[in-house]
């Protein structure tokens, strides 16, 4: 890895662990092994590095969602695969955790990729649920948009509960609860 790459990856890790407020240019240099000159050669300091790091985390989050959503089987199986995919739960979501960073939220250029990622994810999941509804997999009363927002919230809240408990267990339980509720929208239809 060249210095530029090491700088981006180190910033990503530090943002994930300590947040933007808790990450100093000095800490980024120490973690990456890049000097101050190299850092300011490649980036305009911490804000520019954070833009690159956040953009990369957001891109990975989209890619992983796309992979699960494009998988085989009925819509409910693809939604379950996405909710249950392997995650480093106790580290939290590298994108979602940024919403608790006052300096990220106050900077339009840093907030934009966070906002766009969740808007994209919710929209993509809503389209998938709508597809399931149109194909008769879910009952006609399912509100795809609201349900998609609730499912994305379950994941983000699941991270919060797992970190509070110091164990990944509540994350898995929240996902089980959400999928249990969603399955009733299929079961209800079948029982008619």
């Amino acid at each position: 890895m060249d210095a530029r790459e090491r700088l981006i990856e180190s910033t990503r890790e530090l943002l994930w662990e300590r947040g933007y407020v808790g990450t100093s240019p000095k800490a980024i240099q120490a973690r990456s092994g890049a000097g101050q000159g190299s850092m300011y050669h490649h980036f305009d300091g911490k804000p520019g590095l954070a833009r690159a790091a956040i953009g990369r985390s957001a891109g990975e989050m989209r890619e992983r969602a796309d992979t699960a959503f494009a998988g085989p089987g009925p819509v409910s199986a693809r939604v379950a695969a996405y909710l249950r995919r392997e995650r480093d739960v106790l580290r939290g979501c590298p994108v979602g955790r940024l919403t608790q960073d006052p300096d990220v939220m106050a900077d339009p250029e840093l907030r934009a990729p966070v906002e766009e990622t969740f808007a994209w994810l919710t929209g993509r999941l809503a389209a998938l649920l709508e597809e399931g509804r149109a194909q008769g997999e879910f009952d006609a009363g399912l509100d795809a948009e609201a349900t998609a927002t609730a499912l994305v919230a379950v994941l983000q809240g699941g991270y919060v509960l797992a970190r509070a408990a110091g164990t990944a267990e509540p994350f898995g339980r929240a996902v089980d609860g959400a999928l249990g509720l969603l399955s009733a929208r299929t079961a209800a239809k079948e029982s008619r």
Copy 2:
């Protein structure tokens, strides 16, 4: 308000706005108008103040949940009242946001009230859902524990999505989605 009280309330606000890492003893003194001598007379510095502030936020969160859960009407109406109660959504949850604070999570005395609050809330909500199931309000297949965890996660994740979007709208949509899914556990039973 005396100095001790002003110190606790100022710490609460700063923890909510800036997090633990982003809150300095100097900022607490400036916001509270209390001097350094007064701060160290009442507390052992930032950790002690944070313990008092977090304890108070956690206590308020429990009180509000208790009020909604003890309200009139069927279980589903009480759950809906709790999920829909007025909240300062864009400020985020004063307890949940602490899970993103590495220094809070690393300190057992600061993490304990965060962990206990979510365990209590999930347990209380699970007992309420179980009551609804026992009374035939929900269908027999409802997993009260997993559903309660999912609902608490929807609230915590709703804050994350609202902050990302810069508007409270996704919070309300996530709650609508969750209540829509929960209602199917009643509707499913009625259609039998």
